[in-house]
């Protein structure tokens, strides 16, 4: 039996003034799929994420989420419904500590965020704090718990960026270059954790690190100048001459 579609884009396009950044993209993603998204710089990958997450309004076409048309849904509602994203450029509550950043996600997931009558401390919210501890442990970040995000190194900030999304219990997780700026060790860690996510979580990931991408995704989509030029298994895409031409560097070609 074919799995249910979690995301279906039909004729999606985005224009900025005269510039056509996304042109007529049609795409379906089924529940639980792990989809990689590659393409040259400026191909429109991030723009596509912006539109799916509701941070940009499409110029044309529709975005379907399960069986619903969500074009008009504001971004925070989409997040509530399970579409959670990370940003290519760190975008955090940088004056707050790591703990406070994570808490903001955890309390919303647990529907505690409208409570105003008690202080948000361990005594009043033991469960939240348990979850928090677990997260910090999992990512090895206990020592930074009380550090302001702006005082962290770039790479650690990127980690927080990703944790914020994963902690948000996504159904559709959009990762925009999660391992950029991460050292080898951290990259491995992130990949492990992503792979450990429940199977029903659908993942779309933009990534320029070919090894990471081809090694972990079920399917790879290639975007060039706003249009889909390839869509298939990692192996198939890797062999695609057009993709090699516009995307891969010499080294990768040599490796392949």
């Amino acid at each position: 039996m074919k799995k249910e579609n979690i995301l279906s884009l039909k004729g999606l396009s985005k224009h900025f003034g005269g510039i056509k950044v996304i042109e007529d993209v049609t795409l379906e993603v089924t529940v639980g799929e792990r989809v990689g998204l590659i393409g040259p710089n400026g191909a429109g990958k991030s723009t596509l994420f912006h539109m799916i997450a509701g941070d940009l309004e499409p110029s044309g076409g529709t975005i379907g989420y399960f069986n619903e048309m969500i074009n008009r849904l504001p971004n925070y509602k989409r997040t509530e419904n399970g579409i959670v994203r990370t940003f290519q450029k760190n975008n955090l509550m940088s004056g707050l500590t790591v703990k406070e950043n994570l808490m903001l996600v955890l309390q919303r997931i647990n529907k505690k965020h409208t409570q105003w009558w008690k202080k948000a401390n361990q005594k009043n919210y033991p469960l939240l704090f348990e979850e928090l501890e677990a997260l910090l442990q999992e990512w090895n970040l206990q020592e930074y718990s009380h550090t302001k995000v702006q005082d962290l190194s770039y790479g650690v900030q990127r980690q927080i960026e990703i944790i914020l999304a994963i902690a948000g219990k996504p159904k559709l997780l959009l990762l925009d270059e999660p391992t950029a700026g991460m050292s080898q060790v951290e990259t491995d860690q992130i990949i492990t954790l992503i792979n450990r996510l429940p199977l029903e979580v659908t993942i779309m990931m933009i990534e320029h690190d070919i090894e990471v991408l081809f090694g972990n995704m079920d399917r790879v989509i290639v975007l060039n100048a706003g249009t889909l030029i390839a869509d298939g298994s990692p192996e198939a895409v890797r062999e695609n001459p057009e993709v090699r031409e516009i995307y891969m560097g010499k080294e990768e070609l040599a490796n392949a």
């Binding site: 710089n41 400026g42 991030s46 760190n90 190194s153 700026g181 991460m182 050292s183 080898q184 560097g249």
Partner: protein, 231 residues
């Protein structure tokens, strides 16, 4: 050309660099490796003067620049491609490239940058804040080149670039090296880093834990992984 002696750096009360020694010889490329949060960026920032609370000596062509302001340091011929790109979002692409340019000092000019990154030419009049991540990286590199520096500090310059572009950028860096430009390169991709380096330093918790010729490392990747994985 550039050498750091016993450099200690601080953010407020927190002590981040614990006596870093490092040398970039004229015309050579030094790469700085290390896990996240180990002090690579802090090292770069200490050199260019973004970090002001520091001790030790930083010698640039026979002059100790540790207490100079960053604009004075930059004027001495240091170019920087910072981490996170830090392009000026409210300026157009062209302005980003030209406003700080010092074209009389060398032969990088707008035309050559546009040849190198055709993408930027297409986006010439766009506000840089609207560029894609990779385009911003190109812009940041272009901006540094336009100043025709004697020494380049590159903090993960290839971040966000497609493999094809990474190749192109590395080619350019190699050519620059051939022409005698000195570089300090922070890079996460070890293979990329080693392909150009004359010298490798590995930082751990603000200290240099490994320093050798890249060939040694290439021959014995275990050492690298060993130093890079401990924390």
């Amino acid at each position: 050309m550039l050498s750091l002696k016993e450099v200690h750096s601080f953010y407020g009360a927190s002590h981040v660099l614990h006596g870093v020694d490092l040398e970039v010889k004229k015309g050579s490329v030094v790469t700085l490796l290390g896990r996240n949060g180990m002090g690579k960026t802090t090292t770069i920032h200490s050199i260019i003067g973004f970090v002001t609370k520091k001790q030790g000596e930083i010698w640039l062509e026979g002059e100790n620049i540790i207490s100079l302001k960053s604009h004075q340091i930059a004027k001495k011929g240091i170019g920087i491609v910072p981490q996170g790109r830090r392009i000026f979002t409210t300026l157009t692409v062209r302005e980003n490239l030209t406003v700080f340019a010092e074209q009389d000092k060398g032969n990088w000019d707008l035309e050559r940058i546009f040849d190198l990154f055709p993408r930027l030419k297409e986006r010439e009049k766009t506000h840089a804040g609207n560029l894609s991540g990779g385009e911003q990286s190109m812009l940041s590199i272009g901006r540094a080149l336009m100043r025709n520096p004697k020494i380049l500090l590159l903090d993960e310059p290839t971040e966000g670039l497609s493999p094809l572009m990474v190749g192109e950028v590395m080619d350019v860096l190699l050519k620059l090296k051939e022409k005698g430009m000195s570089m300090l390169l922070v890079e996460q991709n070890i293979a990329t880093a080693l392909s150009i380096a004359d010298d490798v330093y590995i930082l751990n918790k603000g200290e240099v834990v490994y320093h050798d010729h890249p060939n040694e490392l290439r021959g014995n990747m275990d050492i690298a992984y060993h130093h890079l994985a401990i924390s």
